[in-house]
């Protein structure tokens, strides 16, 4: 027997922390840390539906695998874009106005 309030609370706190991290970071690479936290909150929520036995076609076990794969692809692309931007501008500051490239 398990209370579902715990997983729901964990997902809520993880998403809140992730949104805080996305909003507060100025380093473009560290922005991804916040994104990963939001995605892990979504993972917890999906797996909770499986633990509650309320899913059809094992969606609570299969969709998290999809989410993890898509998150990995997204991270690879984001890092490629950030590294290219760093090579062009030699900075990764998100607050920098777009016209100031050296």
């Amino acid at each position: 027997m398990i209370h579902l309030a715990g997983p729901y609370l964990l997902a809520t706190v993880l998403v809140g922390l992730g949104v805080f991290g996305i909003a507060v970071r100025r380093n473009a690479v560290l922005l991804l840390v916040g994104v990963e936290l939001v995605l892990s909150g979504a993972l917890v929520l999906l797996v909770t539906t499986q633990a509650a036995g309320a899913d059809r076609w094992s969606a609570g076990s299969v969709l998290p695998l999809f989410v993890i794969t898509i998150a990995a692809a997204e991270t690879v692309l984001a890092l490629a874009v950030i590294l290219t931007a760093f090579r062009q501008r030699s900075r990764v500051d998100l607050d920098e106005p777009s016209g100031e490239a050296p």
């Binding site: 990963e36 936290l37 794969t69 500051d93």
Partner: protein, 168 residues
């Protein structure tokens, strides 16, 4: 409080503490390493919830691949070893971000927490069942996913081959 609830609370505490430190620390490399702690905590929570496969994949892909990629990107963008003073957030920005995060958490919590009723019996989904569903019902999304990974790989290569003069 059952044993599962206690175990879940312990792993969730690790995840939340790691996540909090990952988004608040001034050291950029520490942020990536605290993310490892947070993700291990999440993986433990998933184990308690009975999803061994998802927990293992989380550790393999997130901790094994994504965090290593983030660390590589930090090194390639010449992240400082000490506190990152160049990207320090102003106080108003921290307060605004904290308000935003709290508002999102409040909104999600007010939607989700009323859904949690009495304790439920944990459903045990065997890995063979997951595999059956993955290669039966979900086989086309699964195949699409491999195409997505290939597209991401090619796109990352194409983006990183943009020459220096192209943007200016």
């Amino acid at each position: 409080m059952t044993a599962l609830d206690t175990a879940f609370a312990a792993t969730a505490l690790v995840a939340v503490a790691g996540g909090l430190l990952a988004v608040t620390t001034r050291h950029v490399v520490h942020a990536a390493l605290w993310l490892v702690v947070a993700l291990l905590g999440v993986a433990g929570s998933l184990l308690v919830l009975g999803a061994e496969l998802v927990a293992l994949v989380l550790v393999l892909v997130y901790v094994g691949a994504v965090v290593v990629l983030v660390l590589f990107a930090l090194m390639l963008t010449r992240a400082p070893i000490g506190p990152d003073l160049a990207h320090a957030a102003q106080p108003w920005r921290t307060v605004g971000a904290a308000l935003l995060g709290a508002a999102v958490a409040l909104l999600l919590g007010s939607v989700l927490l009323p859904l949690a009723g009495d304790p439920v019996q944990r459903a045990d989904v065997a890995t063979t069942q997951v595999a059956g569903a993955l290669f039966g019902t979900w086989v086309w999304p699964f195949e699409l996913l491999s195409a997505l990974l290939l597209a991401a790989l090619v796109a990352a290569l194409a983006v990183s081959r943009i020459p220096r003069e192209a943007a200016s």
